[in-house]
Symmetry: C2
Subunit: 206 residues, 2 copies
């Protein structure tokens, strides 16, 4: 069976180690590509176009919106951020599984538009660990705790719409497990309709 | 997260190596239990009650049907065959993933009754291999080929209702892959609602 790339959205509680996890996954395995976002914010020192972001003018970005050239986008304060379709599709065609790191609202929008998208949610190993990370060690101000709690509640909404829980206990184990889950997904029947139809045709013709 | 067993149905084309695959899986990993069927047929030499089958009288079997004590059952000619619920539930409670080896009609009935059931379909690596196995090497009578074709067409019906395709190319690889797919399934969000609800409760109470 020819391997076609899967579009993967990774979300998760802040502090769950998403970033480190993604870096390790890309370093360990050749199967993945990280999606590069487009943005209208100005490049910072050391950032290169097409590496950290695709840097766009407001006009260019709004043209992309109008032409449905973005998988999803959002506006924060004065700037747009979004996922250009072309880059993702190119990588999928090359057989790479393409990873988008976006939060839950964006994730659900992507899934709606592309139902074959795989949604992964990264979480600490248990509720206590999460709580401890949020509350801190008694050294945080109430404001900081409040804002973390609010964010976590936001992040927790709709987790049940995700396909898998990635439990980040031991990093090495977690990277391996995440890779196995994604590899397994390639064997889903609905991702292999071409193969199935071929078998059915052969049987019919025989 | 406490590991709860998954009910797994394995079906597949005859000649795909299902039996060998199951034996290896159970030998290599401690996570699995094979479901034991109940039947009204007489035990053959060397068969033990509760090992090859649970041997039942017609009366006993029909009582099990009436009491909804079977996950699925079918009657072939003069005998009943079925899957006793009690044994499966006991093994699931022990944390074992319980494997049922049944054909497609039975599989879909089980899925309907227990929507969390994982359906796996074992297939040779490509349509040609399947065809060659069915047609044989020119040494088979038309009758044999006909009967194999008919069976394969029957088996191919509704494969798209299965969750995963298990492609049996290399046996060792296939056993490993099957185990990884099942392990991955334990991380499905819908199989971890207890954990998710706990996290949500913790966040609400904080």
């Amino acid at each position: 069976m020819k391997k076609k790339g899967i579009l993967i959205v990774v979300s998760g509680f802040s502090g769950a180690g998403k970033g480190t996890l993604m870096n390790r996954l890309l370093k360990e395995y050749d199967d993945y590509a990280l999606s590069i976002s487009a943005t209208t914010r100005k490049p910072r020192a050391g950032e290169a176009d097409g590496r950290e972001y695709f840097f766009k003018t407001m006009e260019e970005f709004e043209k992309m919106i109008a032409e449905d050239a973005l998988i999803e986008y959002a506006r924060y304060v004065d700037n747009y951020y979004g996922t250009p379709k072309a880059y993702v599709e190119q990588k999928l065609e090359e057989g790479k599984d393409v990873i988008l790191e976006i939060e839950i609202q964006g994730a659900l929008k992507v899934k709606e538009k592309f139902p074959d998208t795989l949604l992964l949610f990264v979480t600490p190993p248990d509720a206590n660990t999460l709580k401890n990370r949020l509350v801190g060690r008694g050294t945080e101000t109430m404001d900081v705790i409040e804002s973390r709690m609010k964010r976590a509640k936001e992040e927790a909404k709709g987790i049940e719409n995700y396909d898998y829980l990635i439990v980040n206990d031991d990093l090495e184990e977690c990277v391996k497990e995440m890779h196995q889950i994604i590899s397994g997904e390639h064997r889903r029947c609905f991702r292999n309709m071409e193969f199935l139809n071929q078998i059915k045709t052969e049987l019919k013709e025989s």
